[in-house]
Amino acid sequence: MTQISDVSAPKVAPGAIKAPPDSGETPFRLMWRKLRRHRLAQISGVILILLYAIALLADFLAPRDPNAYIGRFTYAPPQQLHLFDGVTFAPFVYDYKVTVDPDALKRSFEVNPDKKIPVHFFVASEPYKLLGFIPLQHRFIGPADPESPFYLFGADRLGRDMLSRLIHGARISLSIGLSGVMLSLLIGVIVGGISGYVGGRTDMIIQRIIEFIWSLPQIPLWLGLAAAMPRDWTSLQAYFVITIILALIGWTELARVVRGRVLALKTEDFVAAARLDGASELRIILRHIVPSFMSHIIAVATLAIPAMILAETTLSYLGLGLQAPIVSWGVLLREAQNIRSIASAPWLLAPGFAVILAVLALNFFGDGLRDAADPYS
């Protein structure tokens, strides 16, 4: 080694050493820069941040306890929030004028312009713990008198506040997608990585297993797995089991993608070079191959989340996923199962729009990520 330390650099023609101006950037910064050019993905990203923030701060943002009910206000329509009373800032909603049809025993609601219900920000409430550890006893918004009606998104069959239920439902629906994808990502990267790197017969067997899983009709499979779940399990247990059921089916897609990338990268010269450098198999996979497709995998995983959310919604809608009193968007949509309740209270479909918004935002964001993740191919 000493033989080369004392020599000067060979002469190189001018112009041979000239780096492009964007040098010194890490691949992730390059990806970020590309993503910023993707307008739709950017907007979706902002929406997603808001959605997840709402889910995290549900206890604080929801005006009421999602299970608190007032019998007088079953199927109460949405109220309009007025921010100014005359010219002074004093938010209020109008009270309802409730009439009961003596034949059908059906309540009908009308706006009562004579009675205003004052609405306060940071109203006092029963104490709770935000994120499970911050003790608070105020909510973001609510009626000054907790007994008076305050239904910005209307009320359901039992007079519960749809807005509060929607906000609390976001928690389960959005997190089940994330945790389901995490789990399937773990299985997918390991199984797909082995399949691609080892190749040969191992690859053949793994791929046939994946095809077998794909050949199973999904909904009956979910139904079967969900039906096998004991009824007396707590809601937390049910949540985890549902996550696992979703992940057990969801990993196959990711495993295929990982396998494809590993197969492609395996023949790259830089992998051969790593082998000649003396790197072990494990080091070749973890240090040389996996980082090369990590950004791509993140993008694909993002695209897998909406499928999980939809799956949870489907299961719960069919009554086989999560059960009340857990609140998820799918559970909420069960309320909108019969045509009569939709006809009289169309606001029960609000969770459906929340699902559409979340799924579209995730899809657009995932598309943007995927486009940005491949600056080299």
Partner: protein
């Protein structure tokens, strides 16, 4: 008096991107006359392809002609004055008039015939389609006859069979002939050829060039031939346009360009090609091998090396087929000697290189390597792993500098990897060593923090070389180390490798398809053909007086970058 076919004036083709405008073609002018070949020569990124595509209005988006004229002259039979002059630059991309131009006036052939022919249609059908577009009233059967006749003109051995075959059933050379037949089916006056022989072996290239030359003179075509290869230019051009960075820096007759180049870039381009025509001045410093043969023993002794691949057919592995990629190859490499292995694609030269470094296991024969302590080590069948000194002493330089560097690792990490794994240095020491290696290959040490994508092709190849010498190797196998680089960079890269050889006492096994690299770089040469060695000897002896038929054909096929050396057509 030759008639003017095409006159390009001040053509500008721009690619507007998010932040900048790439001026791919920046105000070029040239004329094309009947029956002449105009060679547009330039290195990658000079805008020569964009210029060709502008003429046919087939630019990739967002490319656009923003200024200038492309005046197409149409003639009625033997008139000397044009019956119509059409400015192609003014026509819409998919207008009827533009379609007519493509249908009857100008045809184009591309570099990669596999991707420019449809795989779902037979060659005959594709030619018939072009014929029917030109002659809508012709009967289908007559058109087929004409297609077969065209393929016969392309000197295909069995034109009727070829017409019924699909492109994937043909070899590269046959495919390119079918492509030319298709281009000529529309009876154009102008043929644009965009690097049509770059993807072909050198002997096939010579045949295609001869074919194009014959067609040009018999049909009176005007040919625009785009190439980066100065040798090809010297071989076929009547006139030459030299392009650099979107501009034509010089145009002129073949002889005037080669004998009296005016522009510094033209001179540089010719000089770098012609430099490779004789041995490198740096080679002179190496002691001639023959004189020391008696007391110096070879560093690598390859004997009867064989590598057989088992091709499996069908799901259950029935119908086994063997491919003998390397078949009984023997040669010696002396210390500080450069042995060139030359051959065309499929000759087994790369497979052999991978056997020597241990990426493939040899199926037969032996490779005796003399290590630093003068002991003989058998390389065949030895699995090299982890801290094996062989991994440090025998290194490899890869062909494609884009694939050989991990895009997610910094240059410092890439070059440091073999040192770290050999555990010879770490931390500060490792960093200093990487810096030293970078300056040794002519890069700045501060570049070690950057990622490979920030470097040009030539710089990347320097990084690949730095990684190869990082472990103080004794023998380096270079697999097509220069073929991915522009001409002007090739000699530089070879000089760098020679300098390093003189400093570090290296021996090279140099794999290439390019005879000029052998002449410049090597002491001895091994000619391979279909897995076997057909001839071996000193570079002088083999290149100047080849004895084997294949070697003779190979050497005669290489276009020399000097018009006076060409064999008359």
């Amino acid at each position: 008096m030759k008639r003017l076919l095409l006159s390009v004036r001040n053509l500008k083709t721009h690619f507007p991107l998010a932040k900048t405008i790439v001026k791919a073609v920046d105000g070029i002018s040239f004329d094309l006359f009947e029956g002449e070949t105009l060679c547009v020569v330039g290195e990658s990124g000079s805008g020569k392809s964009a210029a060709a595509r502008s003429i046919l209005q087939i630019l990739d988006r967002p490319g656009k002609i923003v200024d200038g004229e492309i005046l197409l002259h149409r003639y009625r039979e033997d008139d000397t004055t044009p019956s119509a002059i059409i400015d192609i630059a003014k026509l819409g991309r998919s207008s009827r008039a533009m379609q007519m131009v493509r249908r009857q006036d100008i045809s184009m052939i591309f570099q990669e015939p596999m991707s420019s022919l449809s795989l779902a249609h037979s060659c005959g059908d594709q030619i018939v389609e072009a014929i029917l577009l030109r002659h809508p009233r012709m009967a289908k059967r007559d058109a087929w006859q004409r297609a077969v006749e065209l393929l016969r003109q392309m000197q295909l051995p069995d034109p009727a069979l070829t017409a019924s075959q699909y492109p994937f059933q043909l070899s590269g050379g046959m495919r390119q002939r079918a492509m030319i037949a298709m281009a000529l089916a529309s009876e154009p006056r102008i043929l644009i050829a965009d690097e049509p022989t770059t993807a072909l072996d050198v002997t096939t290239q010579a045949e295609i060039l001869a074919l194009l030359e014959r067609l040009r003179s018999s049909l009176g075509l005007g040919v625009i031939f785009i190439t980066h290869d100065v040798g090809v230019v010297a071989n076929i051009a009547d006139r030459v346009a030299v392009m650099q960075l979107g501009k034509v820096v010089e145009t002129g007759d073949l002889r005037s360009i080669f004998d009296h180049p005016q522009h510094p870039y033209t001179r540089m381009l010719l000089a770098s090609a012609q430099r490779l025509e004789k041995p490198s001045p740096l080679r002179a410093t190496v002691v001639p091998v023959e004189s020391t043969h008696a007391n110096v023993r070879p560093i690598l002794k390859v004997r009867d090396l064989g590598k057989t691949f088992v091709l499996r057919r069908g799901l259950l592995g029935n119908g086994l087929k063997e491919l003998r990629a390397v078949d009984g190859v023997s040669f010696d490499v002396m210390p500080r000697e450069n042995v060139g292995i030359v051959g065309e694609s499929g000759s087994g030269k790369s497979t052999m290189a991978r056997c020597i470094v241990g990426l493939h296991n040899a199926s037969a024969g032996s490779m005796l390597y003399r290590d630093a302590s003068d002991g003989e080590v058998e390389l065949a069948g030895r699995v090299r792993k982890g801290n094996d000194p062989l991994l440090r002493e025998v290194r490899m330089i890869f062909q494609d500098p884009f694939s050989a560097l991990n895009p997610r690792m910094t240059v410092g990490q890439i070059i440091g990897e073999p040192i770290r794994l050999a555990k010879t240095a770490r931390g500060r020491e490792l960093k200093e060593r990487v810096a030293e290696l970078l300056s040794l290959v002519g890069l700045e040490p501060r570049m070690m923090e950057r990622y490979p994508h920030a470097f040009s092709g030539g710089q990347r190849q320097r990084i690949v070389i730095a990684r190869a010498i990082a472990t103080s190797p004794r023998l380096i196998v270079a697999d097509e180390a220069t073929s991915a680089l522009d001409v002007s960079l090739r000699a530089q890269m070879l000089d760098l490798m020679l300098e390093l050889q003189n400093r570090l006492n290296l021996s090279y096994v140099f794999i290439t398809h390019d005879i000029s690299n052998i002449r410049y770089f090597c002491d001895r040469v091994v000619v391979m053909h279909q897995g076997k060695v057909v001839e071996t000897g000193t570079v002088d002896a083999v290149l100047n007086a080849p004895s084997h038929d294949y070697t003779k054909r190979l050497i005669a096929s290489v276009p020399r970058p000097d018009p006076s050396l060409q064999t008359p057509q």
